[in-house]
C-alpha cells in the first residue's frame, strides 16, 4: 500500500499542452488503421485515399510528438508525466490503469518511432503501390505504430505488455503479408511463437515483481527499488532481471531466440526496415533501460545481459559474412547491432545503449530502405522480362552504382556509419559502448572479453557491409543484358526518405557528442532523471568512462578496426568476379557452416519442435487420451459391464429350472446360515 502511495507521489500530473494531447499520437494511427482496414475489407480500389491516410497520420503524430518533446525540454521535469486514460484492471490492491507515461526516455523513443516511421510509411507508398493488398498493408503498418507507441508510452509493465504483444501481432501479420507462400506464413508464425517464449519470461518477471513490490507501475517499481537498497544483488532481483531479459531476448532477437528475425525478412522490405530494424526489435533494449534500476541492482544479471549481447553480436556477424540474400545480410547485421546495444545496457551504459538504438534506427532503416529500393528495381527489371530469377540475391546484382546512384550514395553513408567510421552516427554510439565496456572491465575482467567480442564484431561488421556494397553496386552487372535496361532509381516518394535518413545517419551522432570532440553529451543529461535510480546504485556508481590516453587509444582502435574491415571487405569481394547463383561453386568448410547459419534452425527443429509435436500426438493424444482414458477406462468400463458381466449374467440365465433352483437354494442356505447366527 505504502509503495503505491510512493508511486502516486513519484508522478506529476499532465501539464496539458502538447503533452496533454499525447494520446493523439496513438489515436491518429489508430484512426488510420480503421480507415485503411475498412477500405481493405471493402476491397475498394481507392489507393489515393490509402496513400494519403497511411503516411499522413504518422506525420501528424510525429508533429505532436515533436511538439511534446519541445514542451518537455522546456520543463526540466524530474518526475515522469502520467496521463491516466481509464482504469483497466482494478482488482483490490492490484490496480492497473491504462495510462501513458511521458518522460525523457519515452520522448526519445516516441520521436524515433514516429519520425523514422513516417518516412518509412512514405517510402512504402511507392514500394507497395502495385500490390493488391495495398490498403491492408497500411492498415497493418498503422496498427503496428499504434502498439509500438503504447509500448513506449505505457506507464506500467502490463500496459507496456499490451504494446509488446501488439507489435508482435502486427509483425506476425506483416511478415505473413504475402501469405500465399507458405514460407511467409511460417515465418510470421515462427516470429510470434518465439516471441511468446520471451513473453513467458516477461510474465514471470511481472509476477515476481508484483509479489515483491506490490505494484507494476514503472514509478512504483522504481520507488520500491530505491526504497530498499538492501535488495541489491539479491536472488529475487536477479531472477526478475533475468526473466525480464528472456523477454528482451525474444523481442530483440538475442541468442538463443534470434532465429525468427532472419526469417522475418519474408515481409515487405519497408516492414523489415521499420519493425525488424528500427523500432520493434529495439523494444528489448528499451525495456532494460526502462527497468534500469532493476538491472543495476543485479550485477550478475547485467553481466549476463552484456555477455549474451556480446556473444550475439559476434555470432550474428559471422553469419552475416556468408549470406547472399541482401536482406538476410542486413537481418544478421541487425541482430549483431542489437547485441551491441545489450552490451551497452549490460555494462550499465544505458545512455550508450539508447544512443546506439537511435543511430542504429537511422542507418539500419536507411540500409533496409536502400535494399528495398534495389530489390524494387530488380523486381521491376525481372518483371519486365518475365524472368524468375531471385531479385534479392546479391549475386544477381553488381554494378548497380550507375543505375541507382542515389541509393548507392545513401547506402554508402549508412555503411560508413555502421562500420563506425567517424564522424558518422554509428561511430560515436558504438565507440561509447565499447569504451564503457572496457572501462567496466576494470572491476569485472570478464568485460574485457566482451569488449574483445565487440571489437571483433565491429571488424566483421565492416567486412560484411563492404562485401554487401561491393557485390551490389560495384563490379560488373550480373542481372542480365536485357534486364539492365529496366534498372533505374526509384520515384521520389522512395528516394526522399532515403535522403532524409542519410542525413540523419551522418549527423545522428550529434545527439550525444562526447566531450572528446567538444560535444557535451546532450543525451546523457537529457536521460539523467530517468536513469538516476540506476546511477545511485553501487553498480551505477562504479561505472566511469575511460579518461585521457586510454580514451584516445580506444577510439583509435575502434576507428582502425572499422577501416581495416572495410578495406578487407571491398578488396576480398572485388578480387575476383562474383559467380551467379547458378554458377556458384558449392561452399566448403567453415564457409558452408556459415552459409547454413550453424544449422541452428535445423537443430531447434529436431530438438524442440518435432519432439513436442510427437509427444503431443503419439503420447498424449493417441496413447493417453484415446488409448488409456477413453479406450481403457471409459469405454473399457462400459464394455466390461455390458459385454462381460452383463453377458455372463445373461448366460447363467440358461433356461434350466434345475439350475434356477440351485441358485435359489444357494441363496436360501446363505440366509439360513446368517439366521443361525
Amino acid at each position: 500500500m505504502t509503495l503505491s502511495l510512493l508511486a502516486q507521489a513519484g508522478e506529476s500530473a499532465s501539464p496539458g499542452g502538447a503533452i496533454g494531447l499525447l494520446w493523439l499520437t496513438i489515436a491518429l494511427p489508430l484512426a488510420g488503421f480503421v480507415v485503411n482496414g475498412w477500405l481493405s475489407v471493402r476491397r475498394s480500389r481507392a489507393k489515393a485515399v490509402v496513400s494519403f491516410v497511411g503516411p499522413a497520420v504518422l506525420f501528424a503524430s510525429f508533429a505532436v510528438a515533436l511538439a511534446a518533446f519541445l514542451q518537455l525540454q522546456g520543463m526540466h521535469a524530474e518526475a515522469p508525466i502520467v496521463q491516466r486514460l481509464w482504469s483497466w484492471l482494478p482488482v483490490g490492491n492490484f490496480r492497473i490503469d491504462l495510462a501513458l507515461q511521458y518522460d525523457q526516455l519515452s520522448a526519445v523513443m516516441l520521436l524515433v518511432v514516429t519520425g523514422v516511421g513516417s518516412f518509412i510509411h512514405l517510402f512504402s507508398v511507392g514500394y507497395m503501390r502495385s500490390d493488391e493488398g495495398y490498403a491492408r498493408y497500411f492498415a497493418y503498418l498503422n496498427l503496428f505504430v499504434v502498439f509500438m507507441l503504447v509500448l513506449v508510452l505505457g506507464s506500467s509493465y502490463p500496459v507496456l505488455f499490451i504494446g509488446w504483444e501488439g507489435v508482435g501481432l502486427a509483425s506476425y501479420l506483416l511478415i505473413g503479408f504475402w501469405f500465399n507462400d507458405k514460407a511467409n506464413a511460417d515465418a510470421g508464425k515462427k516470429a510470434f511463437i518465439v516471441n511468446r517464449i520471451g513473453d513467458f519470461g516477461f510474465l514471470i518477471a511481472m509476477f515476481l515483481l508484483w509479489n515483491a513490490a506490490g505494484t507494476l507501475d514503472f514509478s512504483g517499481v522504481t520507488a520500491w527499488a530505491s526504497a530498499n537498497p538492501g535488495l541489491a544483488g539479491s536472488g529475487l532481483v536477479t531472477a526478475i532481471a533475468l526473466f525480464m531479459f528472456l523477454g528482451c531476448a525474444g523481442k530483440s532477437a538475442q541468442i538463443p531466440l534470434y532465429t525468427w528475425l532472419p526469417d522475418a525478412m519474408a515481409g515487405p522490405t519497408p516492414v523489415s526496415a521499420l519493425i525488424h530494424a528500427a523500432t520493434m526489435v529495439t523494444a528489448g533494449v528499451y525495456l532494460v533501460v526502462r527497468s534500469n534500476v532493476i538491472f543495476a541492482m543485479s550485477p550478475v544479471a547485467s553481466t549476463v545481459v552484456a555477455g549474451v549481447g556480446a556473444l550475439t553480436a559476434l555470432f550474428a556477424a559471422t553469419i552475416g559474412l556468408r549470406q547472399y540474400d541482401i536482406k538476410k545480410v542486413l537481418a544478421y547485421s541487425t541482430v549483431s547491432q542489437l547485441g551491441y546495444m545489450f552490451v551497452g545496457v549490460g555494462t550499465g551504459a544505458y545512455v550508450a545503449g539508447i544512443f546506439h538504438l537511435v543511430t542504429h534506427a537511422f542507418f539500419k532503416a536507411l540500409l533496409f530502405l536502400g535494399a528495398g529500393a534495389v530489390i524494387h528495381a530488380m523486381h521491376a527489371a525481372y518483371h519486365a522480362t518475365h524472368s524468375h530469377a531471385d531479385a534479392q540475391d546479391m549475386r544477381n546484382m553488381g554494378g548497380l552504382r550507375k543505375m541507382l546512384p542515389v541509393t548507392w550514395w545513401m547506402m554508402l553513408l549508412a555503411t560508413l556509419a555502421i562500420a563506425g567510421i567517424p564522424p558518422f552516427a554509428g561511430f560515436f554510439s558504438k565507440d561509447e559502448i565499447l569504451a564503457l565496456a572496457f572501462a567496466r572491465g576494470a572491476e569485472q575482467p570478464v568485460f574485457y572479453v566482451f569488449y574483445g567480442f565487440g571489437l571483433l564484431a565491429a571488424l566483421l561488421t565492416a567486412i560484411y557491409m563492404a562485401r554487401l556494397m561491393a557485390m551490389t553496386f560495384l563490379g560488373t552487372n550480373r542481372t542480365g543484358a536485357e534486364e539492365q535496361k529496366h534498372l533505374h532509381d526509384s520515384p521520389p516518394s522512395m528516394t526522399i526518405p532515403l535522403i532524409v535518413l542519410g542525413v540523419l545517419s551522418v549527423i545522428g551522432g550529434a545527439v550525444n557528442l562526447p566531450h572528446l570532440v567538444g560535444g557535451h553529451q546532450w543525451l546523457d543529461r537529457w536521460l539523467e532523471p530517468v536513469l538516476k535510480p540506476a546511477a545511485e546504485t553501487a553498480f551505477g556508481r562504479s561505472l566511469h568512462g575511460p579518461e585521457g590516453s586510454t580514451e584516445y587509444l580506444l577510439v583509435a582502435i575502434a576507428v582502425l578496426v572499422g577501416i581495416i574491415g572495410l578495406v578487407i571487405g571491398f578488396r576480398a569481394t572485388l578480387a575476383r568476379p562474383v559467380p551467379t547463383p547458378e554458377a556458384a561453386p558449392a561452399e566448403r568448410g567453415f564457409a558452408r557452416v556459415l552459409l547454413n547459419k550453424y544449422w541452428v534452425d535445423e537443430l531447434y527443429d529436431r530438438v524442440v519442435v518435432r519432439p513436442f509435436v510427437w509427444v503431443s500426438r503419439a503420447l498424449l493424444w493417441k496413447a493417453t487420451d484415446k488409448g488409456l482414458i477413453d479406450g481403457a477406462l471409459v469405454n473399457g468400463s462400459a464394455w466390461l459391464s455390458r459385454s462381460v458381466l452383463g453377458k455372463a449374467g445373461s448366460l447363467l440365465q440358461n433356461g434350466q429350472i434345475g439350475f434356477y433352483v440351485i441358485v435359489f437354494l444357494v441363496g436360501a442356505l446363505w440366509i439360513l446360515r446368517v439366521m443361525a447366527g
Binding site: 440351485i662 437354494l665 442356505l669 439360513l672 443361525a676
Partner: protein
C-alpha cells in the same frame, strides 16, 4: 411304547420319501409317496390331530395322489426313461439337501420347556412345568375332535376360510381353462 410308535412311523415316512425321490418310474414314486402320506397320517393321529390324520388320507391319498396317478397314466409318462440327473446333479442335490438339513436339524433340541422359556424370557434356571394335558387335548376334551377344529375355523379363522373358497374357485377355473382340449 409311545416312543416306539413315533419312531416307527417316522422311519417309515423317511424311507418312503427317500424312495419316492429315487424311484425311476413315476408310478412307483407315487406309491412311495403314498406310503409316506400314510405314515404321516399315523403320526398326526399320534400327535392328537386325529381329524387331520383322516383328512390327510382322504385329501392327499384320496384326491391329490389319485390326480397325480391319473395324469401319469393319461400322459403315459411311466415309460419315460431314466430322468434322474447325472452324477453332478446327484452330487449337488445331495450336497444342498444335506446342508439344508444341517441348518434345520438344529431344531431337534427343541422341547416345549425351551420354547416356553424363550417365549417368556424366563430367567435361567427357573424351570417351567407344563400342564398335564396339551392345549389340543384340552380343546378336544371340551368340544370333541371335530368341534375343536371347527369352532375356531368358523370364528377366528373365518376370513382365511373364505379365502380358501376363492382359492379353490381360481384353481378350478384355471385348471379348466388350461386343461380343456379346445377353447
Amino acid at each position: 411304547m409311545a416312543t416306539f410308535i413315533f419312531y416307527f412311523f417316522a422311519v417309515a415316512a423317511v424311507i418312503g420319501a427317500a424312495l419316492c425321490v429315487v424311484q425311476r418310474s413315476a408310478v412307483a414314486s407315487a406309491m412311495w409317496l403314498m406310503s409316506t402320506m400314510f405314515s404321516l397320517a399315523a403320526l398326526f393321529i399320534f400327535l392328537h390331530a386325529e381329524l387331520l390324520g383322516i383328512l390327510q388320507i382322504l385329501v392327499y391319498v384320496g384326491a391329490i395322489l389319485v390326480l397325480f396317478l391319473f395324469v401319469v397314466m393319461l400322459l403315459n409318462l411311466d415309460t419315460v426313461g431314466r430322468d434322474v440327473r447325472g452324477p453332478a446333479g446327484i452330487g449337488s442335490s445331495v450336497a444342498i439337501g444335506g446342508l439344508l438339513l444341517v441348518e434345520l436339524i438344529a431344531l431337534w433340541r427343541y422341547t416345549p420347556e425351551r420354547i416356553v422359556t424363550e417365549l417368556a424370557r424366563l430367567p435361567a434356571g427357573m424351570t417351567v412345568t407344563l400342564p398335564a394335558k396339551s392345549a389340543v387335548e384340552v380343546a378336544v376334551a371340551k368340544q370333541g375332535v371335530v368341534g375343536a377344529l371347527a369352532e375356531p375355523m368358523f370364528r377366528t379363522y373365518l376370513i382365511p376360510f373364505e379365502i380358501t373358497s376363492l382359492l379353490l374357485l381360481a384353481a378350478l377355473v384355471g385348471a379348466v381353462v388350461l386343461a380343456k382340449r379346445r377353447i
